[in-house]
Symmetry: C2
Subunit: 231 residues, 2 copies
DNA sequence: CGCGTACAGTCTACACTGTAGATAGGCGTC
DNA sequence: GACGCCTATCTACAGTGTAGACTGTACGCG
């Protein structure tokens, strides 16, 4: 008999399991079929293993979700030494935006998990960007408390933008305008005149440009308000 | 026998059920014990009714959640005729912030549900703020597409701020600093020097002031960039 | 060689979830 | 009284996370 036995459906079993393997498959599954599809049983099947084996690599389902967010956030590369802090923050923002567009189903985790976990108990991978951005700003000459202010305004805006953009995001670009109009058509004209008439503008949303524009305003505003002492 | 029969545990049955009653109890439950506590069975018990009766007032559990978000957002009062649009946006922002602080467990719904629902299919209550803010801005002299830009930057920032603030929010103000420090202490000093040393500043976060500050920057920036033609 | 121990993976079982479908109770109208 | 309608209940089912006991295999040590 051939050594390939595929007891599950999709995946043959290959060697030993590992946390990396488990998390990678989990992310794959979430990307493909959404958060609800990520059940222990399903993930086990996808790996060709008993669901219970997963508990060796993640204490909980919750911990598994944390692992997935960590996996995504680890793809964010930050240069805390960049002397041009504004350019660096712009770069980070666009990276995070594109990560979010690549893994839209993970975004709810990104924004939601920290709400139920005190700062100090979060997975380290999710705190690293915070640390690095603080470092970047302090290195650039901000007093540490001001760096915190800047970080909050910046990251707040960034997360907000991402949420906003994903809300208007429709998967199939062909049906985009049609679906949108269809949706809008259902709204009572009396109550929603503005929204209905903005249909075309909604359909031609350029998220990247809008992010950039908002950042320009915010960053230069912050800069002039909290004077940077050349480091 | 007295007419009061309390088959569940907490709530006596009073008259007929209604959507309002169901949603109110649902919100109450979520506020008190979090989203996970809101199961059909539990809510039924809380109302002294069979869980199945709820399906008459909400098609789904998902629809129930939508109803709860609607209930919260309906408490947001917006004056679309206010000629001072900046003051009005400030006011809305603070109202939404305080709603979020009052119902922190609902916030994940607020930011998450729209991600899985195309714009036109959302509960009308959740679209009303959008419509009204657009109205406010157009009335104030913005060209409709510019109004959309302003709305996006504004609402994005606002949601981002709320998420940020709730992440740092700790329920018991007594334990606040202690817990925070405790949490921070667990971080490897080598990797997280900045974050650790900012502990005290994290503990004295004034969300309202920071929101205001960010709004000042953003709104005046937007105003000067997209010239308002006096209406 | 043989034995012991550690650990990856499995099996079974339990309490709990959302909800489809059939069933009962109470009301107004003919 | 008989009918139909609407609300609420009951029963049942497939699916969930996970505790606890169990099996197998690999490896070091005598």
């Amino acid at each position: 008999m051939a050594p390939a036995r595929t007891p599950g459906s999709t995946a043959a079993r290959k060697g030993r399991l590992s946390r990396e393997l488990v998390l990678a498959k989990a992310l794959e599954l979430v990307d493909a079929e959404g958060l609800d599809a990520l059940t222990m049983r399903r993930l086990g099947q996808e790996l060709g293993r008993d669901p219970m084996s997963l508990y060796r690599y993640a204490e909980n389902r919750a911990a598994l979700l944390d692992g997935v967010t960590e996996l995504v956030l680890n793809q964010l590369s930050i240069q805390p030494k960049d002397p041009d802090w504004k350019a660096q923050l712009r770069h980070i923002a666009h990276s995070l935006r594109s990560l979010a567009l690549q893994h839209p189903n993970v975004v709810p985790l990104l924004v939601t998990r920290p709400l139920s976990t005190p700062l100090g108990m979060r997975p380290l991978g999710t705190l690293r960007p915070l640390e690095q951005i603080l470092s970047l700003l302090i290195e650039a000459g901000f007093a540490p408390p001001d760096a915190l202010h800047v970080y909050r305004a910046y990251y707040g805006f960034l997360y907000g933008h991402i949420l906003n953009e994903l809300q208007e995001f429709v998967v199939d670009p062909e049906e985009n305008e049609a679906l949108l109009r269809l949706g809008l058509h259902r709204l009572p004209p009396r109550e929603f005149p503005r929204l209905r008439s903005l249909g075309p503008d909604l359909a031609t949303y350029d998220g990247s440009a809008e992010l950039d524009q908002g950042l320009s305003i915010l960053l230069s505003g912050l800069e002039s308000q909290l004077s940077v002492h050349a480091g």
